[in-house]
Symmetry: C2
Subunit: 331 residues, 2 copies
């Protein structure tokens, strides 16, 4: 096994976020699930966009956000995901490449357009996401270059993308390629709805020892394990997954790895402006520590610092100099 | 003359801003004119976009920004400007309508695409703008509905749009329609390059008494009048223009109207994040005061408050609740 050329290669949705402030009354009036992620079709996306206030567009996508954080920290990264040949696709491709992330998946020629996520941000900083998956959900298995996957220390997979059929096939092939090459597979569960639909797949992957690092929040942990108690839930996974990382918003995060346990509180923050990307950036910090061989507690702290940065402003990609921030906080 | 149904109708460029942080070294390396606005063709726009860091997209356009401020303050507004039938055009149209501004100009079918402005924001908050005018520069005179113009208290014109031929014709027709209806014509000089190219037009309009309210910064004032001394320059214009408003960045703003003079200092602000839209929002506050019959000094203060809000964050459209801000600052 040769040393990997890349730290992390990720497969995820290629999405541009469309973000606007909203009031709780808007969330209720529009029938939105506050704090959640709901898949919407083109008609519903149009309806919600028409109801939205003046917005701004910032590249998003869960795994892509994680890579943006990793690259900002100094990791070498590559992204696999599909946009359409349109202006939002150009925006996504520009932003990911401008962040120093390799991105070679060709843009899809025909309809539907590039994926977008309509995000209503309430005054409490909570984000309510409505995703039109567009071209992203048709990522073909042929878009994978298995030599690229074999050459990355970690393959990172976004649970959201397990839902559509073609990307699921692509991800299964990617897992096989990574394991054959002796690389690690990291997986984020993304959302309870994904577990409701594909929990059996995930449990089977875990039983088969295919997942090396698993990211979840406490709700996803309960949904996956069927265990209400937080610590019992983690313990049940830790028996089968080498590294389990569970975030609990303002209560910090826990990890269990190789018998070792660690916990960090949430980083202090002046004001929560927009929680979009909190979990994605937590994963970025943790994975950066992991590929650099840092202690489990350091990995968690790196995650907490990156998550705190991204929730202090609009948008799910880091704005501050993460390297400098980490140096200042961790010395 | 019946009471106008609309407070302000504006004609301007329909632009989406593409904004990214940059260092002074980037500005130098790319050969950009720091702090200025440079028109670029499609090739140069592509080159600069490729050199730009991860960006965000926020609707812009000088007069459109002014209307966004006016509408946020409670004025009734309409916008005339042209996008293309593409995703950025949809973004622009959504954002202006979502701000409560009437916008009925049809999107142009063929190439070029919707205008965009590539904005490099340096750590001092200064913005360096590179504008690809796209569909905006082909606004046809037929896009004007003269009854709409006749029904607005103020017609507001963006100097930038005087440069391309078709919109210039449209604006001349609009001025005639407004004057015939007994309405006021407000004009912003926009940039010294516009005066270098069209100063004779502007001086002729002023001599002919076609401009009721003129907005300029101190550099534009000097370029237009050929007078180096600030106060002499204002006096020379005030003899021919009923209301002259001149901004001086952190030194505040001056106005002369009907023999009366007023001055306000710049509003205090914690940190200048991005100066994009400062002049546009100053005009918004001033015009709001004007159409509401406020004193000259109040008009200037309203301008200073709105300008201070927009330079405290990324993007040239207001984010804070301007009504509440004005109420808090002016009582």
């Amino acid at each position: 096994m040769t040393a990997p050329a890349t730290d992390v290669i990720a497969i995820g949705n290629a999405i541009v976020d469309v973000m606007a402030p909203a009031q709780d009354a808007d969330i209720a009036r529009l029938g939105l699930a506050k704090g959640g992620m709901t898949l919407v079709d083109a008609d519903r996306a149009r309806e919600l966009y028409d109801a939205m206030g003046p917005a701004r567009e910032i590249s998003g996508g869960s795994a892509a956000n994680t890579l943006a954080g990793l690259a900002a920290l100094g990791a070498t990264c590559g992204f696999i995901g599909q946009v359409a040949q349109d202006q939002l696709g150009e925006v996504f491709a520009h932003d990911i490449r401008a962040g120093g992330i390799a991105f070679a998946t060709p843009a899809r020629e025909s309809e539907p357009p590039t994926a977008r996520c309509l995000i209503f941000v309430t005054p409490d900083g909570q984000r309510t996401m409505n995703t039109f998956l567009g071209a992203s959900q048709f990522l073909p298995a042929e878009a994978l270059d298995e030599t690229v996957i074999a050459d990355a220390a970690v393959l990172y997979l976004e649970g959201y993308l397990w839902d559509p059929e073609e990307p699921r096939k692509a991800m299964r092939r990617a897992i096989a390629a990574a394991r054959t090459a002796g690389r690690k597979v990291a997986f984020t569960l993304s959302d309870a709805f994904v577990i409701a639909r594909h929990g059996d797949d995930f449990r089977a992957l875990i039983e088969a020892g295919q997942i090396d690092i698993l990211f979840a929040n406490e709700h996803e942990l309960a949904a996956l394990t069927g265990i209400a108690d937080f610590h019992e839930g983690i313990a049940s996974l830790a028996a089968k997954v080498p590294t389990v990382v569970v975030t609990r918003s303002e209560q910090g995060a826990h990890a269990v790895s190789g018998g070792e346990q660690a916990h960090v509180p949430a980083e202090p923050i002046e004001q929560v402006v927009d929680t979009t990307g909190a979990g994605d950036l937590f994963a970025a910090g943790f994975l950066f520590g992991h590929v650099r061989g840092r202690s489990l507690e350091d990995c968690l702290r790196l995650g907490a610092i990156c998550a705190a940065e991204v929730i202090s402003h609009y948008g799910a990609r880091p704005e501050a100099d993460l390297k400098a921030l980490v140096a200042a906080r961790m010395g």
